[in-house]
């Protein structure tokens, strides 16, 4: 697995798309820092970009990478390695190089700009962690979807729809539930909904690190209290990890049954 990861990592890291991805984060972070002149505000704007772009691009890269590597995967499968190792190795290669592109892209401008205030370091860390988690989750999701669909177009379509659902429609659905059940206490359902969707969870985790979380009135305080406790933190991390683990199990299952 490590060998396949190693070469796949080299390969993706040197791809011009990874470099474009890196440059995208580098330039947007740099310009946000310059324009807003305020680390905390830059983090909020960056959060919006990260929560939208990382899942989308991870998904697209993942699907593209999978379909482009089909022949290579066939070749690897003819070699004396387990299927699991081929797919997990490729998965790690792609996720880690994308995560590296993203991390360097936001880290360098922040270092340039002076990551001096300790509060902002913590905010930055949460933001970076959220981005990395999202990368791993959405690359896994894209592999899973592509494995299930041999048809490239169909795979692409499903991947984009899945992204659209998790990034946009899911929140619409929450709002619809809120509107329909307005008479009931909704704090707990809201927390559960948030925990289930990695994009929402990342958004809430980052927001709660920022000052504005404390200014969100009574309900905001309820959420803040939940996610601020060790239990809440553990639960959030667990939710992210469960996403990754379940998807990897899925990839493993589908790939071992799949007829290549």
């Amino acid at each position: 697995m490590l060998k396949i990861f190693k070469y796949s990592f080299y390969d993706v890291l040197r791809s011009r798309w990874t470099i474009i991805y890196f440059l995208f984060f580098f330039i947007s972070t740099l310009s946000l820092l310059y324009l807003s002149n305020n680390l905390s505000k830059a983090i909020t704007s960056l959060m919006n970009i990260i929560l939208t772009i990382i899942p989308l691009i991870s998904m697209i890269f993942g699907v593209m990478h999978y379909y482009n590597s089909r022949d290579f995967i066939d070749l690897l499968l003819s070699q004396p390695v387990k299927r699991k190792e081929v797919f997990i190795g490729q998965y790690l290669g792609l996720s880690i190089s994308l995560a590296a592109g993203f991390l360097l892209g936001i880290l360098i401008p922040f270092l340039f700009y002076g990551l001096s205030v300790s509060v902002d370091v913590w905010n930055f860390a949460v933001l970076a962690a959220a981005g990395v988690f999202l990368t791993f989750i959405f690359v896994a999701l894209s592999f899973f979807i592509s494995l299930l669909n041999d048809d490239k177009i169909k795979g692409f379509g499903i991947a984009i729809l899945t992204w659209l659902y998790l990034a946009v429609l899911y929140d619409g659905m929450i709002l619809l539930v809120f509107v329909s059940f307005n008479e009931y206490p909704l704090e707990t359902p809201a927390l559960i909904f948030t925990l289930l969707n990695p994009i929402d969870l990342s958004r809430v985790m980052v927001l709660l690190q920022l000052d504005i979380s404390a200014l969100m009135g009574y309900t905001g305080a309820v959420f803040n209290k939940f996610f601020g406790t060790t239990g809440g933190m553990v639960l959030s991390m667990a939710s992210m990890l469960i996403w990754i683990i379940l998807l990897l199990i899925g990839i493993n299952k589908v790939s071992s049954k799949k007829d290549f």
Partner: protein, 220 residues
């Protein structure tokens, strides 16, 4: 050495192998399983050490150099390949540090060829190996294959170039609609059909089988 037993394969809804069984160079047949040198391949990737596979397409990790790519496969097989002479034989030396992305289709196919040969495995499985090769490389490649055959290696060659099959094969399996139409010595087939090339012999056989509309008619 290679046994196929009741193998089915389809791409989507299109069946390409309908319970094909065959036995290449002796051995025994066991239902619905593939044995290589007597090892069942199911849940056992170790058998693939014995195999050199040459796929039809050459879309490999495009940002790796030729050297890295060969090293990767060596790493994966945990074996040192004897690529040196093969690389010079196919004039690949000067491409060693180039990214695969920057190579032409023919050059990539040569890399492909080197890759499948460099471990000198006991079984070769090659899918249209000569497509895209320049004439010089093609000749050299075929000579290598013949030498390996003489060394007692098993070669499974998939090709639609019947001249190539005629030149290289001791035994041909002709598949149509997922069934084996013919399995045997190409020379015997040519003699049976009274043709001087394999191509014509096969064409003659197909006419008969279409008329009878029984795909299994010539299986033996």
């Amino acid at each position: 050495m290679v046994e196929l037993s009741n193998i089915r394969k389809s791409f989507g809804k299109l069946p390409v192998l309908n319970g094909v069984s065959m036995n290449i160079a002796g051995g025994k047949i066991v239902t619905r399983e593939i044995f290589v040198n007597g090892q069942n391949i199911k849940d056992n990737p170790v058998y693939r050490h014995l195999i050199g596979y040459l796929p039809q397409t050459t879309r490999f990790p495009e940002n790796l150099s030729v050297r890295e790519f060969l090293r990767m496969i060596e790493d994966v097989r945990m074996a040192k390949g004897k690529s040196g002479e093969l690389l010079s034989l196919f004039a690949l030396d000067r491409f060693l540090n180039k990214s695969l992305r920057n190579l032409s289709g023919g050059t990539r196919q040569k890399v492909n060829v080197v890759l499948s040969l460099m471990f000198y495995p006991s079984v070769y499985i090659m899918d249209e190996p000569t497509v895209g090769l320049d004439p010089v490389s093609r000749v050299r490649f075929k000579e290598l294959l013949k030498k390996e055959k003489e060394n007692g290696k098993t070669l499974l060659l998939v090709t639609h170039l019947l001249s190539e099959a005629e030149e290289l094969a001791d035994e041909i399996v002709f598949l149509m609609d997922g069934y084996i139409c013919y399995h045997g010595d190409p020379k015997v087939l040519m003699a049976e059909q009274k043709e001087n090339t394999l191509e014509k012999a096969i064409a003659g056989m197909m006419e008969v089988s279409t008329q009878n509309s029984n795909p299994n008619i010539n299986s033996r």
